[in-house]
């Protein structure tokens, strides 16, 4: 920081030395350990830019952050997922696995484009749902035009064409 910037910084800090609506110590502690919610982080960060006293308090915490984490056998800040991140990451992984499994199941299904109630008889007259999400347009348009008992039909490609 050059002299001119130092002068500006001193001037700025002297004008922002008026504590008002300061976050409590727990909010600063949460920000320091990375467990603050995003909206809390934004709000506290905005306050730190406007309040030199809270900025000093927070910088005190940053001074000791790595040492305290090491003393408490916690992983270094920044390299961890966080207390909320770990379950969230696990949840996302589980969702991804479910999505992949269901995609594979749909692809290996004998009749992916339609779900029929009359498969046992081989008749398409009591079909209750027919859908073609961009797949086999011929069969979908056939089923939509030919079967009176279709209760719901969806064919995005056909609609786009018309």
């Amino acid at each position: 920081m050059d002299n001119e910037t130092k002068h500006l910084a001193g001037l700025f800090r002297s004008t922002t030395r008026k504590p008002r609506g300061c976050p409590d110590s727990d909010q600063l502690a949460r920000l320091a350990d990375g467990s603050a919610w995003p909206w809390q982080r934004r709000r506290v960060a905005a306050h730190l830019s406007e309040c030199s006293r809270c900025a000093e308090d927070y910088q005190s915490l940053l001074t000791a952050r790595d040492g305290l984490r090491e003393a408490l056998d916690l992983p270094a800040h920044g390299g961890r997922v966080g207390w909320l991140g770990a379950p969230a990451a696990a949840g996302m992984t589980a969702l991804a696995v479910v999505a992949i499994v269901s995609t594979i199941a749909v692809q290996t299904s004998p009749e992916p484009s339609s779900m029929t109630a009359g498969n046992a008889t081989g008749s398409s007259s009591d079909r209750i749902f027919a859908s073609n999400f961009g797949g086999d347009t011929t069969s979908a348009s056939e089923s939509a035009s030919g079967a009176e008992d279709v209760l719901f039909s969806s064919d995005f490609d056909a609609r786009r064409g018309s």
């Binding site: 001119e4 910037t5 500006l8 910084a9 001037l11 700025f12 800090r13 002297s14 004008t15 922002t16 030395r17 008026k18 110590s25 727990d26 600063l28 502690a29 949460r30 920000l31 320091a32 350990d33 467990s35 995003p38 982080r41 960060a45 905005a46 730190l48 830019s49 406007e50 030199s52 006293r53 900025a55 000093e56 308090d57 910088q59 005190s60 915490l61 940053l62 001074t63 000791a64 040492g67 305290l68 984490r69 003393a71 408490l72 056998d73 916690l74 920044g78 207390w83």
Partner: protein, 183 residues
Amino acid sequence: MNDQSKTESFEALWRRLAPHVRAAVLRYRPRDAALGTDDLVQEVRIRVWDVYSSDRNSGFRASYYYRVVNSAIVDCLRAHRGTLPHASRAEDDDGAGGELERIESGTRTPDAEFERRRRSRALTAALEQLAPDRARAVRLYLQGFTVPQIAELLKCEPDRAHNLTYRGIRALKQQMKAEFDDG
């Protein structure tokens, strides 16, 4: 765990924590605090011990203690800020009492005080003219945060924080220069 072994385990923990707590307190120990650094560290220790002694089955996690220590440090710094009455007035740069005191004591002349206020208003106006992202980064930089810390607070890449900060500072200097070179 009986009382004695609990005390011993706390002492072992505190030996590891104490140097870092001391460093944190020393970094911005209020100049107007009536208590010295050792006393402030001792206050933090008492607060941590209160939590530790209530932790019957060692069920609290290390991350909880980390937050307790941080919270205790901030509370301690805040509680003792301004406890030295005379220094408290001098510290209050914008308060009318501090201003009068500085002028009366001869540490700053009325002209110098007027000039400081003029520059301060110009700085505020110049900051308001910056783009919001730049202004946020510049304000944090002027508060003493480093670029990586700014990146962490704004949740952006360090390169972006660097660009926002330095371009903002450059623009700020240009505006201040234009304001005071003209007038």
